[in-house]
């Protein structure tokens, strides 16, 4: 028991940045409650949490990628492709067990593809995943043949939209994923190596770290988490539309940066990512309820990214200075 306590020491501990995010969430809730009579209802709270499920899972993976000095701008469409696979499996015979496996497997495979391009092919992550984004987008279009997958069987929904001992299944899965990623990051050599690579790949190599292996595995982990997210997506909506996941990468990167993970790598916060996701979803939901069209949501996200990075840049004079200081 003592060993377990030691292992989990600091799993939810928060620093100043994270407390201020929590305060920002609470402030947003208070302001929206005053502004809209529909806001402060238990139904709306459930909606916000429901809408956060996919982004939380994908955000955990994105945190690892950014901490490593990587990024994946194709991650939303990866979820789309995984969702199509799940939909096809469900549509064929409605077997929920196969459908449960399909998401993570397709996610892992696409993670391997990304890793092959970015890690083995040495294409810079931002460019490599941008290229894959183009390819995947067309793949989604071709696979769907211009038509939504809709009216999928409810078998997966019945499996995932339940509660265990009164706790919703998505909440259980998210807590389990958070704990697993946290342990890997803070308690295993893998996490140490990941952060060392994020600080400087060259120094990590000189220290005897298997840089290629760690980077490859991290893209696969991110893919698997995205596959799990796709499973919840399909279970909830029971359809897959053409534009699936098109703003997810933007949202995930925004939430992770908001949470205090460095865009330059080497530093990250998992609890910050969770709070960043919640703040983003609270803002998007609240703005919708006070009458701002959903068309404006990416604008809010984009402004948040620019605002956070801009603020950090100004407080450090220039990002370049910060980079040099980190590598000096």
């Amino acid at each position: 028991m003592n060993a377990v306590r030691q292992l989990g020491n600091g799993v939810f501990s928060m620093n100043g940045r994270e407390w201020s995010l929590l305060v920002a969430c609470l402030l947003a809730i208070i302001i929206f409650s005053v502004a809209s009579p529909h806001y402060a209802t238990s139904g709306n709270a459930a909606t916000v949490l429901r809408n956060s499920v996919e982004l939380l899972l994908i955000g955990l993976g994105m945190t690892l990628l950014l901490a490593m000095g990587g990024i994946d701008v194709s991650i939303g469409i990866v979820m789309g492709l995984a969702a199509i696979a799940i939909g096809r499996v469900l549509g064929a015979d409605g077997n929920p067990v196969l459908a449960l496996v399909a998401g993570p497997v397709v996610g892992a495979l696409l993670g391997c593809v990304t890793a092959t391009v970015v890690v083995l092919g040495r294409v810079p992550a931002i460019v490599g995943t941008l290229g894959l984004l183009g390819v995947y987008r067309t793949a989604v279009f071709v696979l769907l043949g211009g038509q939504w997958l809709s009216g999928l069987p409810a078998s997966l929904t019945n499996l995932l939209a339940t509660t265990v001992l009164g706790v919703p299944v998505p909440a259980l899965v998210i807590v389990a994923a958070y704990l697993a990623v946290w342990l890997a990051l803070r308690r295993t050599p893998y996490g140490l190596h990941l952060l060392a690579i994020g600080n400087s790949e060259e120094k990590a190599r000189l220290s005897g770290i298997p840089v290629i292996k760690i980077r490859f595995v991290t893209f696969v982990i991110s893919g698997i988490l995205t596959g799990v997210a796709a499973t919840f997506y399909v279970a909830t909506y029971r359809n897959v539309e053409m534009t699936i996941g098109s703003t997810l990468a933007l949202d995930a990167i925004a939430a992770v940066i908001l949470g205090g993970t460095s865009i330059l790598g080497g530093k990250c916060s998992l609890i910050g990512t969770v709070l960043g996701v919640l703040l983003l979803r609270i803002l998007q939901n609240g703005l919708l309820l006070i009458g701002v069209p959903s068309l404006w949501q990416p604008v809010v996200t984009g402004v948040l990214i620019i605002g956070v990075l801009g603020f950090e840049a100004i407080s450090n004079r220039f990002p370049v200075v910060q980079l040099l200081r980190a590598r000096a």
Binding site: Q6, L7, L183, R187, T188, P189, L192, H193, L195, A196, G198, N199, S200, K203, A204, L206, S207, G208, I209, G266, K267, R325, A326, R327, A328
Partner: protein, 256 residues
């Protein structure tokens, strides 16, 4: 006198038509600080790169404790107990001292087949090493990036010791340091030798060399031109050896 840890025999290095190093014979002993002096381009760096396994020598051989060795990579040299602390330290600024000291060679225990870090044990080992080196660092959990230049040198030395280095090569360890920090690093160098390590120190600062070195070797134009016990020479003689004004060097260079 004990047998030397490492003997370099007739070491030479050519890069194409350029001879960077020729006929270098040198003995490096455990517990001794050996200083390599020489002007820029004298061959010091080439020589330590051969010791560190970064360059294979064109001629000659290295013998460690009586056994001839040939290094194909820095990894080979490390396996033979040679650690190099470069000027631009290969430390991860975002990780703590203990994490840096053990990076790539962490202590771990397996729980359900998953390797978990033994953080407490690593921390205790590092605390012990820091204490042994008499390096005072107020917060060992702080990221290495927040440490001073001298403290970072101490961390790099801990890392070398933890890898069981028998020979530590220090390339201008005080070049970027303030006065007080320089004193600490020099003291560390002495303590490293007292611990039984062989130390090779490269420096441009002659008074610093006299403070810590047991022996002084002077390189000039790719050759070893002089070897002196620090106690038997002085600042002036060493300068004349480096510049070539010394009669011995003149005589040597006439015959070549």
């Amino acid at each position: 006198m004990t047998a030397p840890f490492l003997v370099a025999r007739n070491i030479g290095k050519r890069f194409g038509a350029l001879t960077a190093l020729a006929n270098v014979d040198l003995e490096i002993r455990s517990g001794e600080v050996l200083a390599l002096l020489g002007d820029n381009g004298a061959g010091k760096s080439t020589f330590i790169k051969i010791l560190a396994g970064a360059h294979p020598p064109s001629d000659g051989e290295l013998v460690i404790e009586g056994n001839p060795v040939s290094f194909h990579s820095p990894k080979d040299a490390a396996a033979s107990g040679i650690a190099t602390i470069f000027q631009e330290l290969a430390l991860s600024e975002n990780l703590s001292i203990a994490e840096n000291v053990f990076l790539g060679r962490e202590l771990k225990r397996s729980i359900f087949g998953i390797p978990f870090l033994k953080r407490q044990e690593m921390r205790q080992r590092v605390d012990g090493l820091l204490k042994e080196l008499d390096a005072h660092i107020s917060d060992p959990e702080a990221p290495v990036g927040s440490l001073s230049g001298g403290q970072r040198q101490a961390v790099a030395i801990c890392r070398a010791l933890n890898l069981n280095a028998r020979l530590v090569i220090m390339d201008e360890p005080t070049a970027a340091l303030a006065v007080a920090e320089t004193r600490k690093v020099l003291a560390l160098t002495r303590r490293l030798a007292a611990r039984g390590c062989a130390v090779v120190l490269i420096s441009h600062n002659i008074s610093e060399v006299f403070e810590v070195a047991d022996r002084i070797v002077v390189f000039r134009r790719g050759r070893k031109v002089a070897e002196r016990l620090a106690a038997e020479t002085d600042h002036e003689e060493v300068v004349s050896l480096i510049t070539g004004a010394h009669p011995d060097v003149r005589a040597l260079e006439k015959t070549n």
